[in-house]
Amino acid sequence: MEDEKSPALRAGVDFRGTQNATMRVSEHVRPGRKRAPLLRYVRFNLPRATRLLLLFVVAVIGAASAAVALSDREPFAFAAPVLWAVCGVAVVFVAVGLLTSARIWAWGAALAVASLLVYLGGLAGDAPYVWNGASIVLAATWNVTLLASIGYLVLYSALRYGIIVAAPDDQNFMD
């Protein structure tokens, strides 16, 4: 609603140059609806912490993949080179993330998807579960590749949706 009580507007002074110059604007509200989708209301502006968190999750994926590759248990045939590849890419990813301000999050998502595919490969092969004869530590490490990958993809989705931002980006809150 226009603010009819505005002294400026009543005096004929109109500063309206942008949509929300003199009134509040609700974003993301679809036509015919009163409110936006719930997650549109949530925005965190912790760019450096978010960047570190994303790098940490990828580091966990890499470390867990390396640990599985080092075990004497192959989830599927020729899994070791694939796991080492995931680990290697994770190392490069974390290094780039720490040493530059590049926006590399889509690459991280690709890595997470690759790790998920490795996990699915294990399901079709001989994944190191406890009920398959693996130790608890190895089974836990193997499952961490799944959980961390899902975790990264959830964070990446939140990033794409605007819930979180990673440095060098910023939510640019104005008010």
Binding site: T18, M23, Y41, N45, V137, F173, M174
Partner: protein
């Protein structure tokens, strides 16, 4: 000792389900009226670390704090629709039950020896918790520790929620009360001030929600009927009956929320009456805590300090009066024309100019933290004279019980957000006599109070929420009853909205 699941523990578990769900929903309502979280007391625009709004504020126009509201759905918040006052009522009603229940639970834990179920008595518990975490990650279910009703991870997580998270959420909630925060002002400052406390309170909410999600997941993993049987009967002997009864209980909780929400939206005054019965008996005790805030990190003496901690741009809430007489006063710089009238039930009615007030104040000031009911804060150094000193000059007659302040502001005329008439506020005498209840005429040594902050003279009431510190003060009247003024609830927002006049929290 057999720790088991005694009946009082099971009752507590169910009550917590009710209390915490009500606290979360009403808490979201409160958050929604100032849906921003900061690390700084000054709540500078653009510096929030989180926002929970889809609104963009006007950029070419002064906008008030009242415009910060976001309209959450009643399906999410209690009661929804930006009804802060009613959300607060529900929060405090539920807090009364939640804290009472927690204290009773804590005492029972201590005296029955059941504290052992949560407090690790050996470092081995932490080692075992590590093993249990590995077991969970390996998609297996770890065994309970011998003699314990659950495993080490559960023990530590339940212990954390009950003995750490809950006291933390209670303390950070309590310190959002202006009366408490401004009485224990050094503690408020030591932990980072109101916005840090507000942030921690919000993180506690996230902690509860995260615990709830994992807890429910674990119940499903361990077996719904098996676990709910323990919650209902204290043993796993009757899984089917336990599952059915607990499921029905969950449905009852959901029904309670639906009824509470609809009832609140239909009859807010009834919720207000319930609040007054449940909350006022303990919240009125806070009148015993006079504000003694002198805001400075370096201040240990309690004396007033300089401007180093004040907010450069003290946030405005409400729109300045547009009455001709007020605009004329403003045009003339107030000093020569403004007169504060003090009358009513007093021996010596008087009229005071700003010059008179300055002379009477004799340099007195207070540097205090403003507690907006919505959530923002600013720190201001206010020069003025205490209401108590003014009352001594005017001499209240026997039987005088309250002090009523009237503003130049007319809400329906001046602020598009509201309807209604003259803005007024009132104090019981005990609040008017508080050492930091002040008639202020200068902010931050700027020579005057800016128009948006209440020029030329305003009330400062540091024991209560911000809107009760009336701005653009025109007249003070001492009365022997306040309930025949306006709609009889003691103030504009008390009349037009749902706020308690005895608002110390």
């Amino acid at each position: 000792m057999d720790l088991g699941f005694p009946w009082w523990l099971r009752v507590e578990h169910f009550l917590n389900l009710v209390f915490i769900s009500f606290l979360v929903r009403s808490g979201i309502e409160i958050l929604g009226t100032y849906p921003k979280l900061y690390r700084s007391q000054h709540t500078v625009a653009g510096t929030a670390w989180a926002q929970f709004t889809i609104q963009r504020a006007p950029k070419h126009k002064y906008y008030t704090v009242g415009g910060e509201y976001d309209d959450y759905s009643p399906r999410l918040s209690l009661p929804g629709r930006g009804l802060l006052g009613l959300g607060r009522y529900w929060h405090f009603i539920t807090v009364t039950g939640f804290v009472s229940s927690w204290v009773i639970y804590f005492v029972l834990l201590i005296f029955t020896g059941q504290w052992r179920r949560y407090v690790p008595t050996s470092l081995d518990t932490f080692t075992q918790a590590g093993h249990d975490m590995l077991a969970y990650l390996a998609f297996t279910v770890p065994e309970a520790v011998e003699g314990m009703p659950f495993n080490a991870v559960q023990q530590l997580s339940y212990g954390f929620v009950i003995l750490v998270l809950t006291p933390l959420v209670i303390i950070t909630g309590a310190f959002q009360s202006p009366a408490i925060a401004n009485y224990f002002s050094r503690l408020t400052r030591a932990v980072g001030g109101r916005q840090v406390i507000r942030t921690v309170h919000f993180l506690c909410l996230l902690g509860y929600v995260a615990f709830f999600v994992v807890h429910v997941l674990m119940v499903l993993i361990h077996g719904y009927a098996h676990e709910t049987s323990k919650m209902v009967f204290g043993s796993t002997d009757l899984p089917v009956a336990g599952g059915i009864i607990f499921t029905v209980s969950l449905i009852v909780v959901v029904a309670l929320h639906v009824v509470a929400t609809r009832w609140t939206l239909a009859d807010g005054r009834a919720v207000e009456r319930l609040h007054n019965v449940v909350v006022r008996p303990w919240s009125n005790l806070l009148y015993r805590l006079p504000a003694r805030m002198h805001y400075s990190r370096s201040n240990v003496s309690g004396e007033d300090v300089g401007l180093q901690n004040t907010t450069h741009n003290f946030r405005g809430s409400g729109r300045p009066p547009e009455a001709k007489e007020y605009l004329a006063l403003m045009a003339n710089g107030y000093d020569d024309d403004y007169v504060l009238e003090i009358g009513g039930y007093v021996e010596r009615p008087m009229s005071l100019t700003i010059r008179d007030l300055r002379e009477l104040a004799d340099g007195h000031s207070q540097t205090t933290l403003h507690h907006c009911v919505q959530g923002f804060s600013s720190i201001g150094r206010w020069r003025g004279i205490t209401v108590s000193d003014l009352l001594d000059l005017a001499g209240p007659l026997p039987g005088a019980t309250d002090v009523v302040y009237t503003s130049f502001q007319n809400m329906g005329r001046d602020d598009a957000l509201y309807e209604g008439g003259t803005y007024y506020e009132s104090n019981p005498m005990i609040e008017a006599r508080m050492p930091q209840t002040l008639i202020a005429f200068e902010l931050n040594d700027e020579g005057a109070i800016p128009a948006k902050n209440g020029a030329p003279v305003r009330l400062r009431m540091e024991t209560s929420t911000g809107f009760r510190s009336l701005k653009w003060l025109e007249r003070i009247e001492v009365v022997n009853r306040y309930d025949i003024i306006g709609q009889g609830r003691g103030g504009y927002f008390e009349d037009a909205d749902f706020y308690d006049r005895n608002q110390l929290i």
